[in-house]
């Protein structure tokens, strides 16, 4: 029995039509297969980084290194003048969990101006609400604390597949490629210091309050208050922990607003939301953050998990498929092999070793 040509073409047409149907309603198809986006943990902890406050002193970078026992980093192209004195990481790396980068344009005359200006940006793990790194890790080595929402890596579980490095939309987890026994390393919001009631290294050392620590809920309120401020207003910026629970008490930093805030708190919705929030006077994409119409407001993990759950929840679909395949296979295997078996029985092993 062979496939009849007409039957086959009909099958082809049907498949083509269903593909076209998917094409007609991409939003619906995507939504139908999407896993429910995850919500914020009410007591989640995080950071609020205000680019307009940051003076680029990099005290936070140095403090992060000493808090996490990480060495200085000297890029290869600097080795002729930098004998090891200057920590000069260009980007996040296995030795650098926190970095200050700078946006530059034209004459770079004015701070926080998009044209002919410059602006600072602090990069570290954003402790996403719906993290790709958590979703992708096969051995649950990436963990999100159910209370604080802090995302951490357990090297005793991690097999070093580096899918988290490949998938993180913020390019945060890094692998130690040098040496035979590398591990994944990334910012864990200094959870070892929080456990002792201390502030994360970067917050503790920040003189201006540009990096502020606290409950994400409080930080959001604070951020929304700031974006209503106008240039010329004076504001008392809190420093350290916004609730004053972690670290010692510090006086606020009074400052006159010079550049208008963008009326958006980065991290509230982007990619399902993050626990590190950003305020800035220049556009977030200029600061190298994923931003714009092509960046969704739900995490990519909700898409892949949606597909996985659609196909594999309770293993019902695979079990049904397997049952069908077994029934078909039993019918057809028997048919093909009964003949071969008879041959074998008759010939008692031919000259070609066909037993």
């Amino acid at each position: 029995m062979s496939i009849n040509r007409r039957q086959f073409l009909r099958g082809v047409a049907a498949t083509g039509a269903s593909a076209a149907a998917v094409a007609a309603t991409p939003e619906e198809a995507a939504a139908a297969l999407q896993r429910e986006p995850r919500g914020r943990a009410p007591e989640a902890l995080g950071l609020l980084y205000d680019s307009t406050l940051c003076v680029g002193c990099k005290a936070c970078v140095a403090a992060c290194k000493s808090a996490n026992g990480k060495p200085r980093e000297i890029s290869a192209d600097q080795s002729d003048w930098n004998a090891g004195t200057w920590d000069s990481a260009k980007t996040l790396s296995a030795k650098t969990y926190n970095i200050i980068m700078v946006y530059q344009n034209g004459t770079m005359a004015a701070k926080d101006a998009e044209t002919d200006g410059f602006a600072f940006i602090k990069r570290q793990c954003l402790h996403c609400v719906d993290p790709s790194c958590i979703s992708c890790c096969p051995v649950s080595a990436m963990q999100k604390d159910p209370v604080t929402g802090i995302v951490s890596n357990d090297p005793n579980r991690c097999i070093g597949c580096r899918y988290c490095v490949y998938a993180c939309p913020f390019q945060v987890p890094k692998f130690e490629f040098e040496g035979a026994f590398g591990r994944i390393s990334k910012c864990e919001l200094c959870r070892h210091r929080l456990a002792k009631g201390e502030l994360p290294g970067c917050v503790d050392s920040c003189p201006t309050g540009a990096t502020l620590f606290g409950r994400v809920a409080d930080l959001r309120t604070e951020a929304h208050r700031r974006i209503t401020l106008k240039p010329g207003d004076t504001y008392a910026y809190p420093r350290g922990d916004i609730s004053g629970k972690y670290g010692e008490h510090r006086e606020p930093h009074e400052k006159v607003i010079t550049a208008a805030y963008r009326e958006e708190v980065y991290g509230e919705t982007v990619l399902g939301g993050t626990q590190a929030l950003y305020l800035s006077a220049v556009s977030f994409d200029k600061l190298g953050l994923p931003y714009g119409p092509n960046i969704p407001t739900s995490g990519y993990a909700s898409q892949t998990e949606g597909i996985q759950h659609f196909l594999y929840t309770g293993m019902i679909a695979p079990a049904a498929a397997l049952t069908g395949l077994i029934l078909l296979a039993r019918r057809n295997v028997d048919k093909h092999h009964s003949e071969a078996d008879e041959d074998a029985a008759d010939s008692q092993g031919g000259s070609h070793g066909n037993a």
């Binding site: 096969p138 051995v139 070093g160």
Partner: protein, 380 residues
């Protein structure tokens, strides 16, 4: 049903090409020693921007697609009940066994913390949301299934008639698993890169990646069967299996037409076509992929061509190139982490990849010469 008989091809094992392959495998082994002593950074160009290189994109993602010959033939022989393809089944199963085993070995070589690799076998650590976990478990189970499916060939060689008969009685279960598992695995390899989000160019990023990886598993699985069959006919001086292959060509040509059609509509839907005309590396790579698919269809369109070993070979090669480029694009070329990262494989990485494929060809030669894999040639 004489076409169902299988016999070892026989002949000398250590030939000049065999020694050549051995040299490549030996070089790869030297590099791998370095890899384990000095770490991944010692021999590869992997970086925090490009944590996955060709060992994943080619050895695993493309290598296992080349291991889909067994899936395609099993699907036709046992499920769609096209018994006439049976003579191709054993060689195809064997290629799958090699493709998947070497894919799994490539993963282990690539694991940054390989000494903890057994963690993936500990159910209490499983993250069932992880697509990667599913692909890993499917590979593992499918390799076991393939070994069982290949069992009768060993039993025949060893003359264990009773064992063969007993195994045969339950074979339908493994045949079914041998279709389901690679389909789960192949489609999920598409889902893996959906998680890359904006880092994968819209020329490839799509909810349909899951389906598209299944399409390319079929086309590449078939193409490797045709490719291998034609090559081994020439190399081992055996008659061409043209009649069977030409019917397969017809079916696979249509699978490819649907795949290219789905891609076309999908890119329209996503508004990604303009990116194909920017003439950067990604666009060029896209056109190599898409045009090789069209070339395969053009080569196999006429029935006259499909009866001709040369056209079958060329068509299958073009089809292979199409799937190869599609997958390479999805995992490497279409991927851009930004921030100035770039990647080009190191010589060491290339040698190991060549070694992974060389060892498969060596195993193929040993197996077909020593075991009843290819169907017996009727002596006149």
């Amino acid at each position: 049903m004489a076409t169902h008989e299988h016999a070892p091809v026989g002949g000398r094992l250590v030939t000049a090409p065999f020694i050549f392959l051995f040299v490549i495998v030996f070089a790869a082994a030297v590099i791998l020693t370095q890899r384990f002593v000095f770490g991944l950074g010692g021999v590869t160009h992997l970086s925090d921007g490009y944590p996955w290189g060709i060992w994943i994109a080619i050895d695993l993602i493309i290598g296992t697609a080349l291991g889909c010959g067994g899936l395609v033939v099993a699907l036709l022989v046992y499920i769609v009940n096209q018994g006439e393809y049976h003579p191709l089944a054993r060689a195809a199963l064997m290629t799958s066994l090699f493709g998947y085993t070497m894919g799994a070995i490539a993963v282990m070589i690539d694991l940054g913390r390989w000494w903890l690799g057994y963690n993936i076998m500990l159910p209490w650590l499983w993250n069932t949301n992880s697509v990667l976990l599913e692909t890993a478990l499917c590979i593992f189970l499918y390799i076991i299934v393939l070994i069982i499916e290949f069992g009768p060939t060993f039993f025949e060689r060893l003359g264990l008639k009773e064992s063969r008969r007993r195994l045969h009685r339950v074979m339908f279960v493994f045949t079914a698993l041998g279709v389901l598992l690679p389909m789960m695995h192949q489609s999920s390899m598409g889902t893996v890169v959906i998680l890359l989000g904006y880092k994968l160019s819209p020329l490839w990023q799509s909810q349909l990646l899951t389906v598209n990886f299944l399409f390319t598993a079929f086309t590449m699985g078939f193409a490797i069967v045709a490719f291998e069959s034609t090559l081994s006919s020439v190399a081992l001086k055996r008659p061409f299996e043209t009649r069977l292959l030409s019917r397969l060509c017809y079916i696979m040509m249509w699978v490819l037409i649907i795949f290219l059609g789905v891609r076309f509509i999908d890119l329209l839907r996503l508004g990604a076509w303009p990116l194909a005309f920017r003439m950067d590396v990604q666009a060029i790579s896209f056109w190599v992929e898409y045009l090789s698919g069209i070339a395969a269809i053009a080569l196999l369109w006429q029935e006259r061509n499909r009866m001709h070993p040369r056209y079958i070979f060329l068509g299958a090669s073009a089809m292979l190139l199409n799937g190869f480029m599609y997958r390479l694009n999805c995992y490497l070329i279409g991927y851009d982490p930004g921030h100035g990262w770039s990647y080009y494989p190191s010589t060491g990485e290339i040698i190991v990849t060549l070694g992974i494929f060389a060892i498969q060809i060596m195993l193929y030669l040993v197996f077909v010469k020593q075991l009843p894999v290819l169907h017996a040639v009727r002596k006149a």
